[in-house]
């Protein structure tokens, strides 16, 4: 994996090579992005390590923007010869391209940036996290297994899962003189407990955590949570499908809301792929729903610059249920500003050229009046607690109708285990005031359908279970 100095040297060298080529005069600008990572995953099940792996990879991509066309080429051959070939091939590709109807968007200038003097951001780098090795991961996993073995349930709980850690570096440079480097670490663990039911089948429970620092991931607490849910999940009964009040744990909320993040990207509106298109200033959700994209939130991760080198701004997307803003990249802000001079460049662009345009990569759901979910459960109304959701897919984009399954912990009243069910719900309906009963404090959640984000647990009405399954 590259360190910061090596990344900057490589960017400088590559841009210098680009600038000395015969066709350099045809360029509007050039950009280099480096993604370098080193990560390791220890994976276990059935009381053995099924996989124990470590990978180290660096990808260098070069974006050449002419006045009317552009291309991006990437390589993992970062030798002198490899990078020279990258430049050769990029120029060759660019010269073949016809003029595009949508010319290349702009790249950042140093004067565009708030902290133009700061090159390196390591605010989310934890040396202890980077240093966690296979032996230490193995010991941690042993402790988890011992906790499972030591549980006092009538049936044994077998634990499966992963413990992974690593670091990554994202570096950006352009021919205008911008240089940005971001480095972070991560630690992640997800655990599934398996317990035998009386009928010989299995019940399961699950818990997951993902943080940038080891200090913030309590593996003991995570293990305890997975084991407690597993123990409670034993001997589930089937109930009739229908509309129920549901307490969605934060991981379940995350994996549902992941299907609406891109609806706050300007490109989804320009392409008319979002039901929110044309609704800025309108009440789209309940007044108790506010959403922001905020890379500076202490629980977030990811670089504070976008794929064109611009600063990521904090953007209020939804305020008290009103659609107030969209995230933009260089291209979409240019397209939108032709329609509305108020449109700002927010610094959320994906590396150009990109058909997707941009994405709010750091969403924060701001619950109004966050409450304890335990206290918020009204015992007079049957409430199903969902630990997580699974295989969620969008059925109808015009209503944000999603289908998915429950999994690894579904309980009536939080205690009585139930068999899993399929749901079909509209996010547009779920986020209305009449549907939201209560919300808990927002926290960093990690699921399986989208990247980690800051979301609350929620109690919602009329959550539509349409079918049951056999376990």
């Amino acid at each position: 994996m590259l360190d910061t100095d090596a990344a900057i040297i490589l960017i400088d060298r590559l841009l210098k090579d680009v600038g000395t080529r015969q066709d350099a005069g045809r360029l509007a600008f050039a950009e280099v992005q480096i993604d370098s990572s080193s990560q390791a995953t220890s994976r276990f099940a059935n009381s053995h390590m099924t996989q124990n792996q470590a990978q180290d990879a660096t990808t260098v991509s070069l974006h050449l923007a002419g006045r009317e066309s552009e291309c991006r080429l990437s390589t993992q051959d970062i030798s002198t010869g490899g990078l020279a070939r990258l430049v050769d091939d990029a120029y060759a590709a660019l010269m073949l391209l016809p003029a595009a109807k949508d010319p290349p968007a702009e790249t950042a200038e140093p004067s565009d940036l708030i902290d133009s003097g700061q090159i390196l951001d390591e605010s989310r780098y934890d040396p202890a996290c980077a240093a966690l090795d296979a032996s230490e991961r193995g010991k941690a996993i042993k402790r988890m297994i011992q906790k499972a073995d030591g549980n006092d349930q009538p049936e044994a709980i077998h634990l499966a899962g992963i413990l992974a850690n690593g670091q990554r570096l994202v570096a950006f440079g352009n021919s205008r003189g911008v240089r940005r480097v971001y480095r972070e670490t991560f630690i992640e663990s997800s655990l599934t407990g398996v317990i035998r039911n009386c009928d010989g089948s299995n019940a399961t429970g699950w818990a997951k955590g993902h943080q940038t620092s080891m200090r913030d991931l309590d593996l003991d607490a995570l293990t305890d949570r997975a084991l407690a849910i597993t123990a409670r999940a034993r001997n589930p009964r089937e109930i009739a499908p229908g509309k129920y009040r549901v307490l969605l744990e934060a991981e379940a909320v995350l994996d549902l809301l992941g299907f609406i993040w891109w609806d706050f990207a300007a490109t989804s509106h320009l392409d008319r792929l979002s039901p929110l298109a044309g609704k800025i200033g309108e009440q789209i959700f309940g007044s108790n729903v506010s959403l922001r994209d905020d890379v500076f939130h202490p629980l977030q991760s990811g670089p504070r610059f976008d794929g064109s080198g611009y600063d990521r701004k904090t953007v209020d997307l939804v305020k008290d249920g009103v659609l107030t803003g969209l995230v933009t990249g260089s291209r979409s802000s240019r397209r939108l500003s032709a329609l509305s001079p108020d449109i700002q460049l927010t610094g959320h662009g994906l590396p150009e050229p990109s058909a997707m345009g941009e994405i709010p990569a750091n969403p924060v759901f701001l619950p109004s009046d966050p409450r304890s979910m335990t206290i918020a459960i009204d015992d007079s109304v049957p409430t199903i607690v969902l630990n997580r959701v699974w295989y969620v897919r969008e059925v109808d984009p015009s209503r944000k109708l999603l289908t998915g399954m429950t999994r690894d912990g579904i309980f009536m009243g939080g205690q009585e285990p139930l068999k899993n069910m399929r749901f079909n719900i509209s996010l547009m309906d779920m986020l209305q005031s009449k549907s939201i009963v209560a919300m808990g404090p927002a926290r960093r959640a990690a699921g399986e359908e989208t990247f980690p984000a800051i979301v609350p647990s929620m109690i919602v009405d009329d959550f539509n279970f349409t079918e049951t399954t056999k376990f």
Binding site: Q53, A54, S74, D77, L97, K101, N424
Partner: protein, 486 residues
């Protein structure tokens, strides 16, 4: 390249590893993506590196490096061995009866099919094709977004093991797609061709020419607009014919995944889930009607999931998963095969690229076509009254692979044995075994297509794999339609 692998093998042997195998993968890809009559993306990527597996004292370790410097290769072997030792130290009891099912140490050169090298086709020709398609779609009033892509990948893979295997494989993969979207204030509808998310094959540019996207662009755009005002698909139980590409995805989700032996053994429980297909059900479970014959065939010419040898050096094979409706077997690896007492691995270990550890993946999981001559028109005529559903829109299945729900882009009513009115937002659901037991007719080989899915996700960290699914349209009695609207 084998000399680089010899360095690694030598190091593994010096360190007394019980077993070591390596893959050096050299890959080049090109993507051309069009959006609204303009080139939205031209990207090319090159990637090269070595993935190293070591088995020591019952523990596996894997490491990967993109540096081909001998010192870095040696360091990667050291890392893999350290990981293997950590594995066996964490769990002191080695898996009982553990061994690698035997496989000859092949020394082979394998070339995948490719008549026209896609990297030698002029870029102007590729762009011209996408431009024609884009212009055709945009010419239909009501289209709000038109998209298309061409995607080409060339892979050279060198495999070696301490057992003496030396295998060099070269394969091409090509994908193409056009997609038309129509939207108004109330609705968003999409039509895709050749299938949603792109059709992929182990082939060269000849597959793009075969699919002739330019001949279908205006049709799919017209259909997308028509869907905006089409009647909603009714709910209830209907005799339903599923189109081939939709059936391919059904096969993927409801047979491909549950037949992965690592899932059945509980090794994927933390992410992808488990399987209702327990080992004791082999030859004992009626999975489908007697017409259902599902195979895993890594030898199918030109299919996306085909190869010469898997990423453990096991020769490609054809295996029955379900025959005459009875569950017959799994997708396996050398170590899981030995657990089940199989003589040989089914050759299903595959990795996304050099950077990932191989895991059990689908190859080409296909429904054998009907033996009785039957075209789609004849099947529709025979159906009398029902529905025809085509081209996937959404897919979801539970973590044991029982309950599923799918939706398609397009449906037509079948009335009096003929296709009738257009219907929108069709969805269907069921339980896997009930579904396959309801299959009572399918088209013959003339209608059978080897569909390709480029984006099957599995593993931690997540890997993406390309899989093939041969299918012809088939009929299912009393399929539950409209669960999404409940």
């Amino acid at each position: 390249m084998f000399d680089l692998l010899e360095i690694a093998l030598g190091r593994a042997q010096d360190l007394k590893a019980d077993f070591c195998d390596l893959r050096l993968v050299d890959e080049t890809s090109e993507m051309l993506r069009y959006k609204n009559r303009s080139l939205a993306e031209l990207s090319r990527e090159t990637s090269i590196g070595i993935g190293i597996r070591v088995l020591h004292d019952g523990g596996w370790g894997f490491s990967a490096t993109q540096s081909l410097a001998p010192s870095d290769i040696v360091a990667a072997v050291d890392t893999a061995l350290a990981l293997a030792k950590a594995s066996s130290a964490t769990f002191t009891a080695a898996r009982q009866g553990y061994r690698l099912a035997p496989e000859p140490a092949w020394q082979e050169r394998w070339l995948g099919p490719c008549q026209k090298d896609p990297f030698s086709i002029q870029i102007e020709d590729k762009l011209a094709l996408l431009q024609v398609c884009a212009d055709e779609m945009a010419a239909v009033p009501g289209i709000t977004l038109s998209q298309g892509f061409l995607h080409f990948i060339r892979t050279d893979k060198y495999f070696a093991s301490t057992e003496g295997a030396r295998i060099h494989q070269t394969m091409y993969r090509t994908g193409c797609l056009i997609e038309a979207t129509a939207s108004d204030d109330q609705d968003i509808q999409r039509r895709s061709y050749p299938c949603s998310f792109g059709q992929y094959e182990s082939a060269g540019y000849e597959m793009v020419e075969h699919w002739a996207m330019q001949d279908h662009a205006r049709r799919i755009a017209t259909e997308a607009v028509e869907l905006l005002t089409a009647d909603r698909c009714p709910e209830g139980y209907f005799d339903t014919i599923l189109g081939g590409s939709q059936l391919g995805l059904q096969i993927h989700e409801s047979m491909g995944h549950p037949s992965e032996l690592d899932r059945a053994l509980g090794e994927e429980i933390n992410f992808a889930g488990a399987s209702f297909l327990k080992p004791e059900l082999i030859n004992n479970l009626r999975y489908g009607s007697p017409l259902v014959h599902l195979v895993a065939d890594a030898t199918a010419p030109g299919a996306l999931g085909s190869f010469g040898y898997d990423d453990e050096g096991v020769q490609a094979q054809r295996i029955d998963l379900v025959k005459d409706g009875i569950f017959k077997g799994y997708l396996s690896s050398r170590d899981t095969a030995s657990i089940l007492g199989l003589e040989r691995s089914g050759g299903c270990m595959r990795a996304q690229n050099w950077c990932f550890q191989p895991i059990i993946r689908m190859t080409n999981i296909s429904l054998e076509p009907g033996k009785t001559p039957c075209s789609l028109d004849e099947l529709i005529s025979d159906t009398g009254s029902g529905l025809y559903l085509e081209t996937n829109r959404s897919w979801s299945i539970d973590s044991m692979r029982y309950n599923f729900q799918f939706s398609t882009e397009y449906a037509r009513e079948i009335k009096n044995g003929k296709l009738g009115r257009l219907l929108k937002n069709p969805s269907y659901s069921g339980i896997t075994t009930d579904f396959w037991q309801s299959m009572d007719a399918l088209c013959d080989r003339e209608s059978w297509v080897q569909w390709g899915t480029p984006n099957c996700g599995k593993g931690q960290p997540m890997q993406v794999m390309w899989t093939g699914h041969g299918a012809a349209p088939a009929r299912f009695r009393r399929l539950k339609i409209g669960a999404a609207n409940a």
